[in-house]
Symmetry: C3
Subunit: 177 residues, 3 copies
Amino acid sequence: MSNIKIGVVTVSDRASKGIYEDISGKEIIKVMEEYLISEWEPVYEVIPDEQYIIEETLIKMSDEEGCCLIFTTGGTGPAPRDVTPEATENVCHKMMPGFGELMRQESLKYVPTAILSRQTAGIRNKALIVNLPGKPKSIRECIQAVFPAIPYCVELAEGPILDTNDKNIKVFRPKKK
Amino acid sequence: MSNIKIGVVTVSDRASKGIYEDISGKEIIKVMEEYLISEWEPVYEVIPDEQYIIEETLIKMSDEEGCCLIFTTGGTGPAPRDVTPEATENVCHKMMPGFGELMRQESLKYVPTAILSRQTAGIRNKALIVNLPGKPKSIRECIQAVFPAIPYCVELAEGPILDTNDKNIKVFRPKKK
Amino acid sequence: MSNIKIGVVTVSDRASKGIYEDISGKEIIKVMEEYLISEWEPVYEVIPDEQYIIEETLIKMSDEEGCCLIFTTGGTGPAPRDVTPEATENVCHKMMPGFGELMRQESLKYVPTAILSRQTAGIRNKALIVNLPGKPKSIRECIQAVFPAIPYCVELAEGPILDTNDKNIKVFRPKKK
């Protein structure tokens, strides 16, 4: 019934093989449940660190499923199999460098290795795609840092209005001219 | 008589159609009048959010008009018609990521939606091109943040010497080796 | 005997012609001597600001010499001959934007012209390549800012373990899951 769909893509060779349970994607869904008042439904997938699979999943979620917002988790580091930022850049029409800058700056408060995260964000058609780190604790820190700007961004990208729970997150919308 | 030309490009569908007056470009000119002691003249245009028109305007201002510095305002957000950063990147020979980073960081002091600005800067031939936000208040905050480095940058890019009014802006030039 | 090689590339038209002595590359080697306990050897070159020579040198140091870490100094500014970031981006398989962001932020504590540095970092095969500024004082400030993340990055990129002197630099490795 709801027409707000939010994509959650866990990118992990091991989680996709069932070697361990995906707790990262679930953490994203949990944070969204805390933040959003609007009715919404998650579109959730766990996939391996293969660039073409990540790209296909992002395209499907934005173009076919009609997600207005897609979070990825995992695959943003410097290891050979880490290709989530490259996949994101390949499918986006507009890059949003401010998201990666702010998330790294936020994570730097906790660990100096925050600079190793290559996470980025961008817009494909009407979907905002945001790369998040792999660890549940860092996921929460990063979403908290950037989410105040997300509902306004989704509106500018011609997506739906996301109503939020002011007790859990303060979002910001500049006054229209 | 002056040989210092500074380009001011307002990118806005509505301002270019005369639906409202361009106050953003005029704010840039006003700030430059406060900052500069050197004789200079503005080369000023109001154009729509069309990527090829933005690119042609930037090329004309740098290559034909001989502007040493070009400011754009508008078109840096996530909306479908916002293409100023893409146009800037397409015409520049060198990108200067530090400008966008610092301007977003500066704007973040005021609004969390500062991360939605995709503004960048770069050099085309001998012209430094800097994207500014659309709102007059943010324009002033952003120029103030980056201008201390601009006269030295223009000199390194083989442009003219910009003399400034120390009472209104403190610029910085490292000592030559 | 040591199998840890660290590349140091001084990019400077004047130093490569012997017009002045390269003190920048030597400063990098000195800082590494202070930081590292592991046995290592420098692979050191002084080359002109020619993009194809920079690219060839970086490729040779990573692919033939097997350096796990390569520092460049010089050529990151806005002048026409400054092309080190372009050469770095051309030879890297993965870009690491967090390094440039943090180094500019660090240098901004000292000089507003820090935003003119276009320095970046990336990974080519198993080598982490990091652009440093040209001035010895800024080199030390920048390495100090990013080095805490470097040994872990080199390991993730499948390079050797770099043991460090805790008295001179505190490095960080997150606990493995």
